[in-house]
């Protein structure tokens, strides 16, 4: 079933390329819906909910002597991210129906190819498949930006490709060193199986070696996330990409980075992570505040949302490096929630752009009057993004921050961050409200600008069409459901997260034996 999830979109992509161009979008939509169906079926068949096990596994031997065995499988965390991908993809395709008018066959072909690669990343159980898919995501995205992007697309696509490729190469070097070290330790038997390598990394590598591995992985995944200061490809790529490209980029591609951190960095180099977590946390916090302030002075709405992704993903990384269950759960939720709300914001901006051909806040204004349905969705998703309780963004942001706050070395809860990290990062909450509401105030509210002309040629009515509403409603429902029932994800991933973090408890026990003493003496709750 895992192979099906990866190969089906690829198959769809080939079918589209050989079939006539006028059928391209319908075929793409059908394919993505079928894949969505398969992934939902997989979720029902899946046995690992609430357990830390890997299910739906299967492997294909390639060159066994060199350890090249392609293995796939899913644990609860990866399956949730696969579901996010298969959920967003039909929407992205449906959302492009009107925007993409030239070379449609290639466009939908690349989009489905991209889906195959992203699913492959989440389902891979060995490094070879993982890395191939991880790199292969760049190719479709490169063409999507370069061919269907806006004015500055050539520069943006090349920068996107080279920047992230360079980052991944360093990660590859890290992976190869690890595999080499494994082969050394096992008498020349190579293996690229993730679990075997993880065990090896934890048990055999010295702190020094782990730190180098951490650095190598962090560079690759950090570029992808993106972490400050390696984020500059993102605003450019986002701004220039076509709508669906931005949606997939924000919704799933950035999550490859955080997924990589969760899947490789946390389990593989725990001691180095404990050592360096404050450093990563500080980078995240700088990213949160720095990007938020930059958002404030943007005039291009799409660029603003792009920078807001940098700011938001900072919380996600911060939660991971809090190294406790709440933080990691919060971070996983953040990956989903950011995909839903920011994805929706990119859709909305795309829909507006198709009608007015501008994204400049100085030229826009008072759209609530002309496009009330659009405006309602806009305000809704902005609030989800700001983190209004009751909607999804809040839960993840709250969990990440409270986890960071309590992860103090001296308190009852072990960890290497602490109140100051959370207190400073939490300023990002205020700044997020600031830049997003200022944007809403300028674009959605205020007097309608007389100069703003709806483009009759676009073939779209003034307000949203049924197709566009169909794109947005599932996302809105997702925001509400995950806002009031985050347990759907938390409960199902709890054990997987606990397994990942188990190794850290050992480390904290050794380094902070006094951590438990706080309990007995101070709280009567203990006695009761």
């Amino acid at each position: 079933m895992s192979w099906l999830l990866i190969l089906l979109p690829l198959l769809g992509s080939f079918v589209i390329i050989v079939s006539p161009g006028r059928l391209a979008k319908q075929l793409a939509l059908v394919t993505s819906l079928v894949v969505l169906g398969v992934s939902v079926a997989a979720a029902f068949v899946f046995d690992g909910w609430g357990r830390g096990t890997w299910e739906l596994t299967s492997s294909v031997e390639w060159v066994k002597e060199w350890g090249l065995v392609l293995q796939v499988g899913a644990d609860s965390v990866s399956l949730i991210l696969v579901l996010l991908t298969t959920f967003l993809m039909p929407l992205a395709i449906l959302g492009s129906f009107n925007a993409i008018k030239s070379r449609t066959k290639e466009y939908y072909g690349w989009l489905l190819g991209l889906q195959a690669a992203m699913t492959g990343v989440f389902l891979a159980q060995d490094l070879v498949l993982f890395y191939v898919c991880f790199e292969f995501t760049l190719v479709p995205m490169f063409f999507i930006i370069a061919i269907w992007g806006s004015k500055n697309r050539a520069h943006a696509s090349v920068k996107f490709l080279i920047y992230t490729f360079t980052g991944s190469l360093i990660t590859l070097a890290g992976f190869l060193t690890l595999a080499w070290s494994y082969a050394q330790a096992n008498g020349g038997d190579w293996s690229f199986e993730i679990s075997a390598l993880t065990n090896h990394a934890v048990s055999a590598l010295s702190l020094h070696e782990q730190a180098w591995l951490l650095l190598a992985l962090l560079i690759g995944f950090g570029v992808k996330v993106p972490l400050f200061p390696v984020h500059t490809w993102l605003p450019l790529a986002h701004t220039e990409a076509p709508t669906a490209g931005s949606v997939v980029l924000a919704g799933v591609l950035l999550k490859l980075g955080t997924y990589g951190l969760y899947r490789f960095v946390l389990p593989m180099c725990p001691e180095a992570v404990v050592e360096w977590a404050p450093f990563v946390a500080i980078l995240s916090i700088i990213g949160i505040l720095y990007a938020a302030l930059i958002c404030w002075v943007q005039t291009d709405v799409k660029k603003l949302i792009a920078y807001s992704s940098v700011s938001h993903l900072g919380f996600c990384v911060l939660g991971l490096f809090a190294l406790n269950p709440m933080g990691v759960e919060g971070s996983i939720l953040y990956m989903i929630n950011h995909g839903l709300s920011t994805g929706a914001l990119f859709f909305l901006i795309g829909m507006m752009y198709e009608r007015y051909h501008t994204r400049d806040m100085g030229e826009l204004g008072g759209l609530a009057r002309t496009m009330p349905i659009w405006a309602t969705f806009m305000v809704f998703f902005v609030l989800a993004s700001v983190g209004l309780p009751g909607l999804n963004g809040f839960v993840s942001e709250f969990l990440c921050l409270i986890a960071t706050f309590t992860a103090g070395g001296s308190g009852a809860y072990p960890g290497v961050l602490g109140p100051w990290y959370a207190a400073i990062a939490a300023l990002g909450m205020v700044l997020a409200a600031m830049y997003l509401l200022i944007m809403v105030g300028k674009v959605v509210f205020g007097p309608t600008k007389a100069t703003l002309r709806h483009d009759e040629q676009s073939g779209l009515p003034v307000d949203l069409t049924v197709r566009e509403i169909t794109v947005l409603v599932p996302l809105a429902v997702g925001c509400i459901v995950l806002g009031i029932q985050p347990d759907l994800i938390i409960d199902n991933t709890a054990t997987a997260v606990a397994d990942t973090l188990a190794v850290y408890q050992d480390i904290f026990e050794e380094s902070m034996p006094g951590a438990a003493a706080f309990v007995d003496t101070s709280l009567p709750g203990g006695a009761r």
């Binding site: 709440m326 009057r369 969990l399 409270i402 009852a412 959370a422 207190a423 509210f445 101070s522 709750g525």
Partner: protein
Amino acid sequence: MIDVTLQLARIVQAMPPVPASEVLHVSGQWWIGFILWCPLISLVLCGLCAACRVKSKLPAWITVFSLAISFVLTLLLAFMDTPPERVELFKWINVHWDGGSFVANFAFYIDSLTILWMSFVTGLGALIALYASEYMEPDVGRGYARFFAGISAFLFAMICLVMGDNLLMLYLGWEGVGFASYWLIGYYYQKPEAVAAAKKAFIVNRIGDLGLALAIYLIWSTFGTIQYNELITVLDAGTYLPVYENWSVQAIPYLLMLAAFGKSAQLPLYVWLPDAMEGPTPVSALIHAATMVTAGVYLIARMYPFFLLAPESLHVVAWVGGLTALLAATIGMAQYDIKRIFAYSTISQLGYMFLGLGVLTTYGAAYHVFTHAFFKAVLFLTCGAIMHGFAGQLDLRKISGLRRMKGWRIVSWTMFIGCLCLAGFPLTSGYFSKDAILAEAFVSQGPGFEVLGWMAIFTAFLTAYYTFRVWCRVCAGEVRCEPGDEHHGDDHDAGTHGGEFHPHAPRFAINIVLLLIAAGALLAAVPYFMGNEVEHVAGGWVADMVHDSTAAEGVPGHPEHPASALHGAEAHHGSILGMDPHVAMYWISACVGGLGLLLAFWLHLWRRQDADRLRSWLLSRFWTRWLPVAMENKWYVDEVYHAFIRAPLWLFGHIFYAIDRYIIDGLFVDGTARLPRLLARCFQPLQNGMLQSYAVTMAGGAVLIALLMLLMLQFFTGGAVS
């Protein structure tokens, strides 16, 4: 694999235990949930009305009806007279791991404090929705459904805030009411001022929310729970714990304070409230006078044990409250827009409430919240009626003699009742509730509380003055009016018939609501005279309600000191001018109230020219010129904030953006990308076509490679050994 169970067993010891949540009785009364669900259903239905473009008053009736049900259920709850109880609705955020958990569910915690707040929140909510059904009439079919959806959303959030069983539920309500307030202030979204005001309200509130969020983190990391019942169990355990001396416990009240000051518009975060008057007037009455702004008082009352653990924090609360009361009163005196005057008066009265909390009379604060909710709602609603009838005119210099106009009698006399209560005229509800606070300022021991008490008395004088300034100008005097330029909403031309202006008097819905709430304002004095069921507690029904809740003044760990150990030794020997403070305050407050009232009648009714003369006299003197100017310009607080907070941040935004483009992206990223080309340029001269130089380069290269290999060998063998 690593032995997971062993690992988890170790975490068990590392995490503090969470008290069992079954401390209190979990009620099975199914209908209690409907207090919350009614506004939610109404929100959904109003949303549907908006989507279907309903062109009738249906949304208003849906809202009024559902809020009335909520109110009736609340009354039912109040008469059941149950001990504190929890009602679980459903699970929300639960993270469990072996050895610990974070639990925040959708659940109610119902004690007497909850019921006290709920009674006026739902009651006034229903009445004001009824009022709005007429007030918003011109918008039927356009923003009407959106407006009532906003009101329903607000009530939903407010009920979450007040009834929530844990701090996260309170936080949900806290941000929810902030959002509803954003929604409704920005109701006239075509008006740039309204949009700016809405944005400002949300952002300033967010600063407060930051404090609340941090307080929640701190409470959870210290106590391992954020549920009220579990916290109370810990705090009421009867032993003073060493952890109370930690910085974490001592810092909690200050963070809560930040939240409360944001939501309740106190110094330094009060600036959003006056601007919030851009919203429709029923919104100002409901959200920005009666209910939402008292959430800060509720928060501190609810979390009072934490404040008692850090007594200095209460001194800060008292001083901030007292100073805000004075500052807002001085600004209110000098404004001309009657709605803004009442906005500043709200800030000032909220200041009194915080003063009450600070000087250890949670009862006084809660009682003042209760009475203020009624009389301030009346005042705003009469303002709304005037605005509605005079095409948005709110300048008190432009309307006069309202009580003699046809159809305006109810408005002018209900306004008179509201003014009497606000001015603290003897035997009105505001008189008793304000006295409870003022007297306690002289009873409690604290830094400069005596000064604070006299300051509060002076503020009471100012209050009486500016309140009756409005009434004398608008309702009394010669009959005269100028219409406003706004036409109640967008482009509706109410009242202007052929160039000549006829104010249209309020009709049934507005009048009946004004009468009911004015009656409520007068009757709010009754609880003061009700007998106390709890011994040693004076002050009637409200005092009983407060005493039974978390706001009771018992210091955690000292259950034998119910009357608060912090009052000091001479607690009830404090005196003003040789009399018992409570008795003395009846006289003092009556006197200053009367004086302020007389001054207002003199300057604004009997001899109006004197007021202008006084102003021009002040302006003509160099030494006094600053006073009226600064007061009329609101002490330039907005400007100061703009210059010292907004502008620097904005500048940083630009600087960071420049750094991002030119240094990080331009220099580092693009610079690195150019490196290969630069490098190539460096080695270009080598390709010069001369045989000798190729030979030299080759030899050099060979040496280099050999060296490199040697180094690598050393590195790898070294690595393997270690």
